[in-house]
């Protein structure tokens, strides 16, 4: 269970204090998939950094399992907006990095990474550098790296936004399968309404900057790959759209 209480995030810039989040209150249940959607620049990335322990709020606090969050924690994995792979490491070295850093035994590192990479269809490209991979493959490596450490909380910053429609949908389905199988808590940031409706148990709509919670939508039918084709999926999308447009 994660609770955000009256979170305010500001950045100091040359032009003065720049408010990114202006009082966000939010609760995320353990094992659920929470999607945060909002217009560009509303503070979505800032919110994820906060949950990752990479950023301190100007005021308010993040409570994780009853205790205030302070700094990076080992059971949290983060996938950055630009996937955050290291260009000097090949796919295998990138995917195994998190486990390696935690000092796991070499056989365990290789075994776990291999299983994940095979499952995600990227074992064959393990010797390729990120620059040699397609966007979809890169994203798969990033997901493999973040899941290799078996996190209880996975944070993703627009992971599928740079992909073509077909690749995006197949990766969304891959992700859905992994989430159902492994039951980690997922917080995914997106600006795509369809993605929010497809991947979120709950959809949190943020206002334009400075970000505030405009509304929270429950999405009980989510979880079935065929949900995308259903009537209620389209209703959900319209609901999100109305909330977002109401703020303009």
């Amino acid at each position: 269970m994660i609770r955000l209480e009256k979170i305010i995030v500001t950045y100091r810039t040359d032009a003065g204090i720049h408010e990114a989040l202006a009082g966000v209150d939010l609760a995320i249940e353990r094992g659920t998939s929470c999607v945060i959607i909002g217009p560009t620049g509303c503070g979505k990335t800032s919110l994820l950094y906060l949950l990752a322990g990479l950023l301190e709020p100007a005021s308010g606090q993040v409570i994780l399992d009853g205790r205030p969050l302070s700094g990076v924690r080992r059971q949290t994995s983060l996938i950055l907006q630009q996937h955050g792979l290291f260009p000097w490491k090949n796919a295998l070295a990138n995917a195994s990095l998190g486990l390696g850093i935690r000092g796991a035994a070499r056989e365990k590192v290789m075994g776990t990474t291999r299983t994940l990479m095979e499952k995600m269809g990227i074992w064959d490209v393990r010797r390729s550098y990120p620059a040699q991979l397609s966007g979809g493959q890169r994203q798969r490596v990033a997901i493999a790296r973040s899941l290799a450490t078996d996190p209880d909380l996975l944070l993703m910053d627009e992971p599928f936004s740079a992909l073509d429609a077909m690749t995006r949908e197949s990766l969304q389905e891959l992700f859905l399968g992994l989430w159902k199988e492994r039951s980690f808590t997922s917080v995914l940031v997106t600006h795509s309404i369809e993605e929010a409706a497809f991947l979120g148990n709950r959809i949190v709509v943020l206002s334009p900057r400075p970000g505030r919670v405009l509304g929270i939508l429950e999405n009980p039918e989510m979880g079935d790959p065929r949900y995308r084709l259903s009537e209620s999926f389209h209703l959900m999308c319209s609901g999100i759209r109305r909330l977002m447009e109401g703020s303009r």
Binding site: T76, L80, Q82, L85, K89, G98, I101
Partner: protein, 249 residues
Amino acid sequence: MKPMRSAAQPYTLAAVALAAGWQVAATALNTEALPGPASVLVSFARQVRGPLGIHFAVSAYRVLVSLALALVTAVPWGIAMGRMRRTDALLSPLVYLIYPIPKIAFLPLVLLLFGIGDGSRIFLIAFILFFQILVTTRDAAREIPREYILSMRSLGAGRLQKAFHLVLPAVLPKILTSLRIGIGTAIAVLFFVESFATSTGLGYFILDAWSRLDYESMYAGIVGMGLLGAVLYEFVEVLDRTLCRWTKI
């Protein structure tokens, strides 16, 4: 053995072009101070298994030790300055004050501290290279994208792991570039430090031949310096190809 051939072929071409230009100049000037390439090569071949080879080895040793010394001291400091704002604010002014001073001006002091042996010569070359490598490393470390830093931090990496998995690989291509520039500087300084109080090294060999008006030998020594540089450059190329393969795609 593909890489060998691909490196040797351009060198053959370059050597032929250089010899041709040299021959033209030698014929045109028609002076003892510039013998043709043929007689110089004969002189080089005759002496390389004897004294010239030994002088070459001594010079190579001095340059290599200087380069290594400059690397192991400048890279950690460059990284520290590039990644830690306080350290940078403290040390950068100091670096900017010392960097432009011709270090050769400190020769009397260096001789006093390190004696007239190899210590002084190696120290002087390394001292000059240190600043070139330091500033390049610092700037490269500063420019590491924030995204990589955050990615590393979120993986839970400690200081050493960050240095090893992130900072070193990120700055390595720039370090190799500073080495390439440094090799030119190193050989220029080498010539200077081998011009006094020694009877070994290519610099000594060249000046000694000159004083005896043995121009064939003098140019054989110059060819040796060229070769020394080329060998060092190729060594850096090999490092680049093996350690920075990711930049070549």
